[in-house]
């Protein structure tokens, strides 16, 4: 049963694994450039396992000691996970003891796969979600550790490799767009985010953008329910 679920999960994870190896490596290289051994990116990718927050944490570690600030920053940068959790309530709470790891390991990409993928016929759902989560995290840990080990020794210019993260979200966005017959939520998300970005600037827009999205979607609820099934 486990082997079948693992083999079913693997192809869904390959694109993310590729992205994670690259971005994880750039994270490891980044920590190495700040003077940390490979043990640091390895341990943070096991314990924190939230990519963008790990980059931010590396930066925090070379600044003034401020644990409360670190906590607040983690809550803000990762507040989007609250949205993911709400989307996964029904899927994950049926998973028994495995749910603890499913929830712990629910990064952006794993969430994107598990929320949008139905396991094939005859494959155990919970083990499928479990292996998607595990394979993704293993790739991230491997990339971060490798990056920390090789440091600045890479034989080619890696400038711009961080775009792989952007490309990943664009591809996920396109995939969701093509699969959906109503695009109101996606359009709302982009418009609210751009509005918050213009109003609050690149360093402070994440929280206002999330509030704006929440308000807009709440206001649109009647419209959404009335036109259930209709093209939008």
């Amino acid at each position: 049963m486990k082997k079948k679920a693992f083999l079913a999960a693997l192809p869904h994870c390959l694109p993310v694994c590729t992205g994670f190896l690259f971005v994880g490596m750039s994270y490891g290289v980044y920590m190495a450039s700040l003077g940390f051994s490979f043990v640091w990116p390895m341990l943070t990718s096991i314990t924190i396992f939230a990519g963008s927050m790990e980059f931010v944490t590396a930066n925090l570690l070379v600044q003034r000691f401020d644990p409360l600030g670190a906590l607040l920053l983690a809550l803000t940068v990762n507040a989007r996970h609250l949205f993911y959790g709400v989307s996964m309530l029904e899927k994950y709470r049926a998973a028994g003891r495995k749910r603890w790891y499913l929830i712990f390991g629910m990064c952006d990409e794993t969430f994107a796969i598990n929320v949008s993928t139905e396991p094939p016929e005859g494959v155990d759902r919970d083990w499928f979600y479990f292996f998607v989560t595990l394979i993704d995290q293993a790739a991230w840990i491997a990339g971060a550790t490798l990056g920390g080990l090789v440091g600045g020794l890479l034989p080619f210019d890696t400038t711009g490799i961080d775009f792989v993260l952007t490309a990943l979200f664009i591809v996920i966005f396109l995939g969701q767009w093509l699969a959906a017959d109503r695009h109101l939520p996606a359009v709302t998300g982009v418009l609210c985010s751009v509005a918050a970005l213009v109003l609050f600037g690149a360093d402070n827009f994440l929280l206002p953008a999330m509030l704006l999205i929440l308000l807009a979607l709440t206001a649109l609820r009647k419209k959404w329910n009335k036109k259930e099934g209709a093209e939008l």
Partner: protein, 112 residues
């Protein structure tokens, strides 16, 4: 490294705590015994698409349409991903094509 080891460990522990709270809170607020309110169900349905939109904007937050290179490397790479994805529907191909395009652009064309 400017922090002592305990300080660095505590900083990481706080980041872990913050991250774990954001991931577990919905499941604690709505345990299996309590029915999920219709409003929360609605959010669960529409939020994933909206949040992906937010993440795309978040990744592109530092480009400026008023300053060279005017976000052109990102815009061109975005177009490459769009064309590749509509044409082939292969996630890995779109991902690598877009990233390679961006790397070539910032290393060879839009060199600052």
């Amino acid at each position: 490294m400017t922090m002592t080891f305990p300080q660095a460990a505590l900083t990481i522990a706080m980041v872990v705590l913050g991250t774990v709270i954001t991931r577990f809170l919905p499941f604690i607020l709505f345990p299996a015994s309590r029915p999920i309110p219709a409003y929360i169900k609605y959010l669960g349905e529409v939020l994933p698409h909206a949040v992906t939109g937010l993440l795309v904007v978040y990744c592109l937050r530092n480009i400026s349409p008023f300053r060279a290179p005017f976000g052109l490397p990102e815009l061109i790479s975005f177009a490459v991903i769009l064309v590749l994805h509509l044409y082939k529907r292969n996630t890995l191909l779109s991902l690598l094509g877009g990233t390679a395009c961006y790397m070539l652009l910032v290393q060879l064309v839009f060199t600052a």
